[in-house]
């Protein structure tokens, strides 16, 4: 039977074995140092790497989830961060991205604070907004340059920083209070209420991350647009029956979203493509 490539004793495979063993020691704090490849060094020296690994990732998580950390306290947050990185080791070049699965991880736990998953979800949306791309990669035409008869069949494009968040708990006041407090000041705030909440998180004109509450139908409309639906499809999905009141409301939303920079423009190409397909 022929050997598999990984079984062959090549310099490349030796390096791979050494690195796998080293990493196992580094990420599994309780495991003994087994490597015969390491020179006779005290275990304390491997523990420097173990400790640095845990500390670095815990700090990265804390930076992305400062309010979640504040609620949990140092010890519990640290313990959760160790468990989290065991379950979801980093595969990212930017350490800030390693928190991507933290809300999902928290959702599987029985937590003392039922609103914590929603809080972490909102905090992660802020991180994504902070690091979002300048613009989507698609060819975008400004809304003002799109003819009104074409517009309904256009797929609109939201700014990549726009994050739509749907929550069961109204955690925004908690987030606001935390971020607006003076350094070192104690924070006293009521526990969040159990209330369906829709939020739009985006990077504002001065690149400050904004969190704005939106109506449920506005959320549905933006979500449909974000999923690539045309404007008329998005409206149909968001409003079962449209009224004159709705028309005015929608006009106002679009005016406001355009002013906030949420709508980048429209993808006219999509209209042309659909027309060609129909013909």
């Amino acid at each position: 039977m022929s050997k598999k490539p990984d079984d062959l004793c090549t310099p490349q495979n030796e390096l791979k074995s050494l690195q796998r063993e080293f990493m196992e020691n580094l990420t599994q704090a309780a495991s003994p140092v087994r490597s015969p490849l390491l020179s006779a060094m005290p275990k304390a020296r491997i523990r420097i790497y173990q400790h640095a690994y845990q500390l670095r990732l815990c700090e990265a998580l804390l930076e992305s989830f400062p309010v979640t950390h504040w609620i949990l306290g140092d010890d519990q947050f640290e313990a959760l961060s160790f468990e989290y990185y065991r379950a979801y080791p980093s595969t990212f070049f930017n350490i800030s991205e390693t928190g991507v699965n933290f809300p999902k991880f928290l959702a599987k736990l029985e937590l003392e604070f039922p609103f914590l998953v929603d809080l972490a979800t909102l905090e992660w949306a802020r991180v994504v907004s902070l690091y979002s791309a300048y613009s989507s990669q698609r060819k975008i035409t400004p809304l003002s340059q799109i003819s009104p008869d074409v517009l309904p069949r256009c797929a609109l494009s939201l700014t990549p920083s726009a994050q739509l968040v749907s929550l069961s708990w109204d955690v925004k006041p908690l987030l606001d209070a935390f971020h607006s407090r003076e350094d070192g000041q104690p924070l006293e705030i009521d526990s969040p209420t159990f209330q369906e909440t829709f939020l739009l998180v985006f990077s504002g004109t001065d690149h400050k991350i904004e969190v704005t509450p939106i109506a449920a139908d506005a959320y549905r409309l933006l979500a449909a647009i974000q999923n690539g639906k045309t404007l008329e499809e998005s409206l149909a999905l968001s409003f079962e029956e449209s009224s004159e009141n709705d028309a005015q409301k929608i006009t106002n939303w679009f005016r406001s979203w355009t002013k906030m920079g949420i709508i980048e423009g429209g993808v006219v190409e999509s209209v042309t493509r659909k027309t060609k397909l129909r013909s």
Partner: protein, 291 residues
């Protein structure tokens, strides 16, 4: 002085640009010639394109200052293949920022697609040299420019090593044609931790490959030194820096500070100290030439 500085391709002394100091750099005239960024902090998220507030700030700062791009996730020594998504994003950032230097570390940061976000040591073997040099060649070809490799601090060594750290470092430069970023503090830390002479290390490096110096603080813990980047540069490291300037001449020098980051004035004081030492060494050389 300026002609000597120019002749050795030195931009003088810079400091690490960290988010804590963004407001300063956006509002004041900086007291340094250049800054160094951690490339990955400005490369956005893997799942998205290049962008984000940090990059907007950097582009503003770049209008007044030269920038060196210093990476921590290239993982050139990993047995894994190069990460093409990472490389494309790095190139995109370089095209946008036009840095005067692109560097990373002679180390590995993960295996099997995982990243532990630490700079882990390599065994000093000829096969590791071949492996790393070949990957550096690919990176340089892809970016269309020279990159620098930095020596890392370490707390363990491998029983399979067949050469000294400086032989390994030099051989990688020779085989790949990369430049060397000599971290003077890391040499000192490793010299204490592994028991070799830091001067032997410096004298063992190819002078023509050395492009840049790093200076940083370390802490003592029991019988070893930990490379913490959390305090002032130690006196022994300043002395070693003087020796490095004597051997290699002036090179762009960076003051690194990554933990417990102090007010910007502290970094500028350290930068002034490095500038003064650089000036003394240049004047010493001029004096020797005249004599």
């Amino acid at each position: 002085m300026s002609s000597l500085m120019k002749g050795t391709s030195s931009l003088g002394v810079g400091v690490g640009l960290r988010p804590t100091h963004f407001p300063y750099f956006l509002s004041q005239k900086p007291q340094v010639e250049w800054v160094e960024i951690i490339s990955e902090n400005f490369m956005g998220l893997r799942s998205m394109g290049l962008g984000g507030r940090p990059l907007v700030v950097l582009e503003k700062i770049r209008q007044d200052l030269q920038v060196a791009m210093h990476g921590v996730s290239l993982s050139i020594g990993s047995a894994d293949a190069l990460d093409t998504v990472y490389l494309k994003r790095l190139k995109e950032l370089a095209e946008r920022i036009e840095p005067f230097i692109i560097s990373d570390h002679l180390c590995w940061t993960g295996i099997d697609g995982r990243n532990v976000h630490d700079l882990l040591p390599l065994p000093f073997t000829p096969s590791a040299v071949n492996h790393v040099a070949s990957k550096i060649g690919m990176v340089q070809d892809f970016l269309g420019r020279e990159i620098l490799m930095e020596n890392v601090s370490s707390y363990v060594t491998f029983s399979t090593s067949e050469m000294t750290e400086w032989e390994f470092f030099s051989e990688v430069a020779r085989q790949s044609g990369c430049g060397l970023l000599v971290d003077v503090n890391n040499i000192y830390v490793n010299a204490v931790n592994h028991g070799f002479s830091p001067l032997d290390y410096l004298h063992g490096l190819p002078t023509h490959s050395v492009r840049q110096f790093h200076l940083a603080g370390h802490m003592e813990s029991d019988d070893i030194l930990i490379d913490t980047h959390s305090c002032l540069v130690a006196e022994n490291v300043w002395n070693l820096y003087r020796e490095a300037l004597k051997i290699f001449g002036t090179r762009s020098t960076l003051i690194e500070w990554d933990e417990e980051i102090p007010p910007i004035e502290t970094l500028f004081q350290e930068a002034s100290k490095a500038k003064a030492i650089m000036r003394e060494e240049i004047e010493g050389k001029v004096y020797e030439q005249e004599a």
